[in-house]
Every structure is written in structure tokens, then in C-alpha cells.
């Protein structure tokens, strides 16, 4: 465990939570999107976190960072809204709307924000600890 390994671990946490925020923002922005380049209605996306040992510090047997293993699509079916006048309506008059619930996304956004702040505080604490060691020289 080097002097600076906790910095790298916390930085990986910051990166992962920032990527999660991107996914949440994409879900919120596309809550009403009925067309995607891949065809079909927008499907809600979710992230999978995984512990990750960086190549710089391969021997972190006591502490590991985190990374986003995958961004997966939510398999739950789309919401059906009856609107026969909509250009993307099906033959039976229903429009497939994204399976995004703004309440769920807001809660996830709060979790991601707090997790980001927690990682930033962890870096602050690690900095203070090493600064204390340097103060011994003074």
C-alpha cells in the first residue's frame, strides 16, 4: 500500500459516480423519447458497479477502486399510453413511452451526488493525513 493509493481509489469512485450521473441525466432527458437511432422507444439505462484494481497499483489487496462494469438497459416493458394521433402510435392506438420514472431517477441522482461528495471528502481526509506527516518535518 503506497502513500498515495487512497487518492487513486477515491478518484476511481469519483469517476464512477460521475458516469452514473451521466446515465441518470440521460434517463431524465429522454423520459418522453419515442424514437431512438437504434429504432424503437428509449429504454431506461442503468449502471453496474464493479471493484477494480488499477494497473498502476496492482497489489491493492487491502483496498480496491471501483469502475463501471457495464451500462445495461432496463428490461421492463415500456409504458403504454393511448394516443392514436401520435406519429409513433401502434396500430391499436397505443404509444410506447419510455419506462423511466422521474421519481426513481431523482432518488438515484441524490444517491450519486452524495456518493460523489463522500469520495471527495475521502480525498480531503487523505490529503490532511499526509499533510500531517509532512508537518512533522517542520
Amino acid at each position: 500500500m503506497g502513500l498515495f493509493s487512497s487518492f487513486d481509489i477515491s478518484a476511481s469512485g469519483l469517476t464512477a459516480n460521475r458516469a452514473w450521473m451521466d446515465v441518470i441525466a440521460s434517463n431524465i432527458a429522454n423520459a418522453e423519447t419515442t424514437r431512438t437511432p437504434q429504432g424503437g422507444v428509449y429504454k431506461r439505462k442503468d449502471v453496474v458497479f464493479e471493484t477494480h484494481v488499477s494497473s498502476d497499483n496492482p497489489d491493492l489487496t487491502r483496498g480496491q477502486g471501483v469502475r463501471i462494469a457495464a451500462i445495461v438497459e432496463d428490461p421492463s416493458p415500456p409504458k403504454l399510453v393511448y394516443n392514436p394521433g401520435h406519429p409513433d402510435a401502434r396500430d391499436d392506438g397505443y404509444v410506447e413511452m419510455p419506462n423511466v420514472s422521474p421519481v426513481t431517477e431523482m432518488v438515484n441522482m441524490m444517491v450519486a451526488t452524495r456518493a460523489y461528495e463522500a469520495n471527495a471528502t475521502a480525498i480531503d481526509s487523505a490529503k490532511a493525513m499526509v499533510g500531517r506527516v509532512i508537518d512533522l518535518l517542520r
Binding site: 478518484a11 469517476t15 509532512i134 518535518l137
Partner: protein
């Protein structure tokens, strides 16, 4: 044999560390400034392992820094191995901030050690009087 009171290998090594950290600070600032530039690739400075390879036991024992040590310069390299976003930019702001913190600590450590070393010289020069 000795290259004057400031040719001490410890002072030379500390000076090289401080030079390397200063260069790294500039490079990190450039990375952070270009965090939104499309196609920009981040750069990094790595001198610690090269410096460690140059320092030999005979350096420290002889009391004067070798020419190789005195002529050592840190180098900037462009990092093409980090994954890039869709706009071609591979700067990760969180990683840059963490690198900045680590670099500042390394620089502070080197400068404090140099202060102690020069303090010893001053003590000798003033013959113990303040």
C-alpha cells in the same frame, strides 16, 4: 572530488524532484484547461522511476552528484492509452484533481526536506549561532 557545498547528491536529487513536480503541475493544468477540447489527449510527466534508476550507492557515498544525475531532465509524454470519450478527449477531471493533490504533496515534501538540508548548512556556517 566534491563539487562545492551545493554539489551534494541529496540536494541535487531534491532539486530534480522539485523540477519534475513543477513540470507536472504545468502539464496537469494544461490537461484541466483542455477538459472540453475535442480530440485533445492528456499528457503526463513521469520521472520518479527514471531518477531512482540513476541514483547509485556510489553517488551517495562520494558526496558529489554524478554528471548523469546533474543532467537529468523530466520528460513529458502524451497518454494515448486512456479511453477517450466520443469527442476524442481522454481527460478525466477527477483523476487530474487526484494527480494534482499527489503532486502538491510530493513537492511540499521535497521542499521541506531541502529546507532541512539547507538549514544544516546554515547551522554549520553560522557556527551554531542563530
Amino acid at each position: 572530488m566534491t563539487a562545492g557545498i551545493f554539489g551534494d547528491p541529496v540536494l541535487t536529487v531534491l532539486e530534480k524532484v522539485m523540477n519534475g513536480c513543477t513540470l507536472r503541475n504545468t502539464v496537469i493544468a494544461n490537461n484541466i484547461a483542455n477538459v472540453n477540447t475535442p480530440g485533445f489527449k492528456r499528457s503526463s510527466v513521469s520521472f520518479e522511476s527514471e531518477l531512482a534508476g540513476i541514483i547509485t550507492d556510489s553517488d551517495l557515498a562520494s558526496g558529489s552528484a554524478s554528471d548523469e544525475l546533474q543532467n537529468f531532465q523530466p520528460a513529458v509524454e502524451i497518454d494515448l492509452h486512456t479511453a477517450a470519450r466520443y469527442d476524442g478527449n481522454n481527460v478525466n477531471i477527477d483523476q487530474e484533481m487526484a494527480e494534482l493533490s499527489k503532486n502538491t504533496i510530493k513537492f511540499t515534501l521535497a521542499s521541506e526536506l531541502m529546507k532541512k538540508k539547507l538549514g544544516m548548512l546554515r547551522y554549520v556556517i553560522t557556527e551554531g549561532r542563530r
